[in-house]
């Protein structure tokens, strides 16, 4: 190759690009960790003190009792909404729903029969994120803005979410809502203890992980006047939810998809 000015500039440009690429790759590696550069600081501690140890990992789960629920109240939905600043947007296309009601036929479309039990026809059932054992939503997220925690909760990181809505497409249950507009004007009463979200990110039920960290039950479970919601550790044989599942027949939504939902419906 003749050493012309153009060739020299080309080689120089290539060298700069190569050096920059090296830095870029290193940068990606660094960004993947979270450096703690604070002088002299000890690191963080998980809520509740001891981390794991000999205890088996938790798997948080919930059982919803058909018989007790569906009495026309919406205590659980109101409790969730006020605890988490879930907006009430009048345009149904832009709704944000964490826990809400759907008729039985819509919740179990391919598990019902042609001649259904009388009290189930059109009966409103609660639906929410199932915090699946093998969630398709976390599989498809390109930034790990949603992931499955060790205790079974499918978490959202609103800081990292790019709003691509791939998780919304991936969820087979319709549990996820995207913020099409700024939600703040539509929040009835602001709870200062919990942040709102902003437009452009996806949100969903989080099993009240912030309350679980303090040893409290989820807001919906606590608020239910009929005690229709049973919550607990599915890996603990003696938990309330396991006791309920031992004695009652329970359904899951579309079990054939292999998602392994952690929400059961006690018939």
């Amino acid at each position: 190759m003749k050493i012309t000015r153009m060739n020299f500039l080309r080689v120089l440009g290539g060298a700069v690009l190569a050096a920059g690429a090296g830095k870029f790759v290193k940068g990606i590696g660094d960004a993947a960790q979270t450096p703690s550069g604070v002088p002299g600081a000890k690191n963080f501690a998980t809520a509740g003190g001891a981390t794991g140890g000999d205890r088996a990992p938790k798997r948080w789960g919930m059982a919803i009792d058909f018989g007790k629920c569906g009495k026309g109240c919406n205590d659980c939905m109101r409790a969730c909404r006020s605890a988490h600043n879930v907006p009430q947007i009048p345009d149904a296309n832009h709704e944000i729903k964490w826990i809400w009601e759907e008729p039985y036929e819509k919740v179990f479309p391919y598990q019902r029969t042609d001649y259904e039990r009388q009290d189930l026809v059109g009966r409103p059932l609660l639906v929410l994120c199932n915090h699946c054992a093998d969630p398709p939503c976390t599989r498809v997220c390109p930034t790990q803005a949603t992931w499955k925690r060790d205790d079974g909760i499918v978490m959202m990181d609103y800081h990292r979410c790019i709003g691509c809505r791939y998780c919304v497409a991936g969820c087979p249950y319709g549990s996820r809502s995207f913020n099409w507009v700024d939600p703040r004007p539509y929040i009835e009463t602001m709870n200062p203890q919990f942040p709102t979200r902003t437009k452009g990110v996806v949100e969903k039920c989080n099993f009240c992980e912030e309350r679980l960290a303090d040893g409290l039950l989820p807001a919906c479970v606590e608020a239910c006047s009929q005690k229709a919601l049973v919550f607990g550790d599915l890996n603990d044989e003696n938990s309330a939810v396991r006791q309920a599942l031992k004695s009652r027949y329970a359904m899951q939504r579309t079990p054939e998809l292999g998602t392994g939902p952690s929400v059961f419906y006690l018939t």
Partner: protein, 141 residues
């Protein structure tokens, strides 16, 4: 010169654009008065002041990722004090009180906009901060 009018118009436009920081500043009545920070009274800092001044953004990111992604909700500072990891409750509520009187003072002066934390996290300016330094079981706003 046929294009005299065009040339002078172009020159004028160029000078106007190049000097716009000057006359924009005059119109906006900006002052050279520095930021007046009201520091939290009688409280110890979560980290040395010069570190916070230089790297508070990194500190906040560590808190954020530690809390959201690693489930770490308690933090032990360099001096042994415990803090609940929370932007609204601890940073504002417990220590610095008001976003307008603390954060915005410097950020507006140097015209570096605060990141979009406040689109989601609530600005509880005006509410009284608690003096507690022990680990406070609380939620994460």
């Amino acid at each position: 010169m046929r294009d005299r009018a065009l040339i002078f118009a172009g020159l004028f436009l160029f000078v106007a654009i190049v000097t716009c920081p000057l006359w924009w500043g005059i119109a906006a009545r900006t002052s050279t008065q520095g930021p007046e920070l009201k520091l939290a009274e009688g409280k110890t800092c979560v980290a040395p002041a010069d570190y916070m001044r230089a790297s508070h953004m990194q500190f906040l990111i560590d808190w954020r990722d530690g809390k959201v992604r690693q489930h770490h909700s308690q933090y032990t500072a360099y001096n042994g004090a415990h803090y609940n990891v929370s932007l609204t409750n601890t940073c504002l509520g417990q220590c610095h009180g008001s976003k307008k009187q603390f954060c915005d003072q410097c950020h507006s002066y140097v015209a570096i906009s605060t990141p979009s934390c406040w689109d989601c996290h609530q600005d509880v300016s005006g509410k009284t901060a608690t003096m507690a330094t022990a680990a406070v079981p609380g939620r994460m706003p």
